[in-house]
């Protein structure tokens, strides 16, 4: 499992992503600069990490979505390559139209930084094979603009196609406005494309990949991708 973590000016979770995605035996992860026009050969997974690319100017992720490396990332995704966008990376994926919708200012108008509980809606994706369906996991969020928005028709399509991968929930798995930290439609925390090879989410699995850091519910992202690359399917 070879991972490329794209570094944009203002990325600040790239080192965490490199560490988390390259920690398992038989895995390696390398940083790729946003001005590069191609990905290294033999890459299995591209991570667009969290942070504040281009200072979040204009709209979060808008400038990064137009950087040189994104042409290569789009080609990679079109060929079925695995692309994971975390937080600002999710914003970059929606801005580059690799995923539908947009991420807007939290309805509470605050930057929210805390562990949240999520319900795993899809465990048949390359990124989620090792989770159980409807498993409740704790993974931290840290964002000011994480309110997932899409028009009514788009939301219907997204839900109809089962493209919601994670939802904010309470400890028992119930989805309610009280456990929605940002006002996201339908408590959406993460979505996938129809093909299932591109996933974006606001929570940070790379920050909860070792117990020492407070929790390891995010570690299954990396074991899942490894399993999937080795032929594991659900």
């Amino acid at each position: 499992m070879k991972t490329a973590v794209v570094v944009f000016p203002g990325s600040n979770c790239d080192q965490d992503a490199l560490k988390a995605a390259g920690a398992l035996p038989g895995t390696e992860a390398a940083a790729v600069w946003h001005k590069d026009s191609s990905l290294p050969a033999g890459i299995d997974l591209v991570i667009l990490p969290g942070g504040f690319s281009y200072g979040d100017y204009l709209r979060s992720g808008a400038m990064a979505a137009n950087s040189a490396i994104m042409t290569a990332v789009k080609d990679f995704a079109a060929k079925g390559g695995l692309v994971l966008g975390i937080c600002n990376g999710f914003q970059i994926l929606t801005e580059s139209r690799l995923l539908p919708g947009a991420l807007m200012s939290n309805d509470c108008q605050h930057f929210v930084c805390k562990p949240v509980t999520l319900r795993v809606e899809r465990n048949d994706l390359p990124f989620t094979l090792d989770y159980k369906k409807n498993e409740i996991v704790t993974i931290p969020i840290a964002h000011g603009e994480g309110r997932y928005f899409i028009d009514d028709e788009g939301l219907k399509r997204l839900e109809g196609q089962g493209c919601v991968a994670f939802r904010y929930c309470d400890a028992s798995g119930t989805i309610s406005p009280e456990c929605n930290p940002n006002g996201a439609l339908n408590n959406i925390a993460g979505i996938t494309n129809e093909r299932g090879n591109v996933l974006g989410l606001m929570p940070h699995p790379e920050r909860y990949s070792e117990k020492l850091l407070g929790g390891d519910d995010g570690a299954k992202f990396w074991t899942s991708v490894k399993k999937w690359l080795e032929g594991g399917r659900r």
């Binding site: 204009l58 709209r59 929606t94 801005e95 919708g101 947009a102 807007m104 928005f149």
Partner: protein
């Protein structure tokens, strides 16, 4: 010719404008009961070299499509100032 262009970008009607809502709540709290609606947008000023007003507007519309505006959530209006040689 150089055309000065005022680009106004707003969230579409129906898209929750958290900033506008907060500013409106403040004004109401200050006693401005007359306030019925307030939306916060962006003003971007561009100087564009073009042969005509139409060409300048077309260039800016293309910039909006490519980067300046996200049509999922935003809409825009272009206002053109008098041309300068």
């Amino acid at each position: 010719m150089t055309y000065g262009i005022r680009l106004l970008v707003f969230l579409k009607e129906g898209v929750l404008d958290t900033q506008g809502k907060t500013v409106a709540a403040s004004l109401k709290g200050m006693g401005y009961d007359c306030l019925k609606n307030l939306r916060v947008g962006k003003y971007i000023h561009l100087d564009v070299e073009a042969a005509s007003e139409a060409e300048a507007a077309a260039q800016v519309e293309k910039m909006c499509d490519d980067l300046l505006v996200n049509d999922i959530i935003e809409e825009f209006k272009i206002e053109i100032e008098a041309a300068r040689v």
